[in-house]
Point group: C2
Chain length 185, copies 2
């Protein structure tokens, strides 16, 4: 346990604690890799994890990284997801939940032309009781409204050749999710 990188020691501590809480073996690769996820606010590819390993621990094998990440998913600590680039990205479940929580407070606009998703202004989320009837056994947590249509950018491009940019203002944050696949073509 030589003190690793000075940059993210807190994450390393947290990682050790969580592993111990799991009742699982606390090994150096697991600590480092979990610390990576804890310290990152965006989902990481296996390669990104390797690059960001604390302690410059290039000592950890690629295969071990794969195995530990899959193991974390199995333990319910992490989430594994592949995007349109066919590469897996891993993130802490709780970070994912935190991101979702933010999005819970507003609605979204989905452009059916460029496939991007925008955040609408806050407090635009519908009330819980707006939920339609759901099958028995299903538990409603919250209701989300998505507006579909054409975004300003795509609309401008269609109407004429005048790329009247700047139409956007108001409360539009750009695409929220890291790894959000904006229109590939």
């Amino acid at each position: 346990m030589s003190s690793p990188t000075p940059s993210l020691p807190a994450a390393v501590d947290a990682a050790q604690e969580r592993l111990r809480a799991l009742g699982a073996r606390v090994t150096q690769p697991r600590v480092c890799i979990l610390a990576c996820l804890i310290g990152s606010d965006i989902p990481l590819t296996h390669q990104a994890v390797i690059d960001r390993l604390p302690g410059g621990a290039e000592a950890i094998d690629r295969v071990t990284v794969y195995r530990v990440l899959d193991w974390l998913v199995e333990q319910g600590l992490a989430q594994k997801r592949a995007g349109n680039d066919r590469v897996f990205r891993f993130s802490l479940i709780e970070h994912e939940a935190a991101r979702a929580e933010v999005h819970r407070r507003h609605s979204h606009f989905h452009c059916s032309r460029c496939d991007r998703t925008f955040c609408l202004e806050a407090d635009s989320a519908p009330p819980r009781q707006a939920a339609p009837r759901v099958p028995s056994g299903f538990a409603v947590e919250h209701v989300e409204l998505t507006v579909n249509g054409i975004c300003a950018e795509c609309g401008a491009r269609t109407v004429a050749d005048a790329p009247a940019a700047g139409a956007t203002e108001g409360a539009v944050d750009a695409s929220p999710n890291p790894g959000e696949p904006t229109c590939p073509n």
Copy 2:
């Protein structure tokens, strides 16, 4: 060259016509592959396309299938998308639009545990005027309601077992319905 499969001759005809309309060369591989997409109501992997080639045309090379599919995407006829299994699936753009149209008439339920998306009963879609304020320049087409929560299956598993989260192991394809896109946001 003998007359191909008797099963989907209409699709073959349609395929030839569309290729001609494009002003592109009408080759046997293109016709067969496009016919596959036309004749399928779900997105197909490259392998699925090969398996479903009309005329038992095993004569068509894997590489050619890849190239033609990518070419169709380039021409705006098809859509290419990778799921959580890291495999590309191709579908006709217009089929995709048709599917979207169907989903437009009802709401969805998203299970935050297993990440699957279910269709709720028809006529549960909110009225257009339910849309919150959108930035200027954005054109609203329709509004969609998504209910988030825990599905019956996951709910039952939680009550019974302890290992609610991890046991099911994530990482696997979520969508129960073929062609049902698990909504990213």
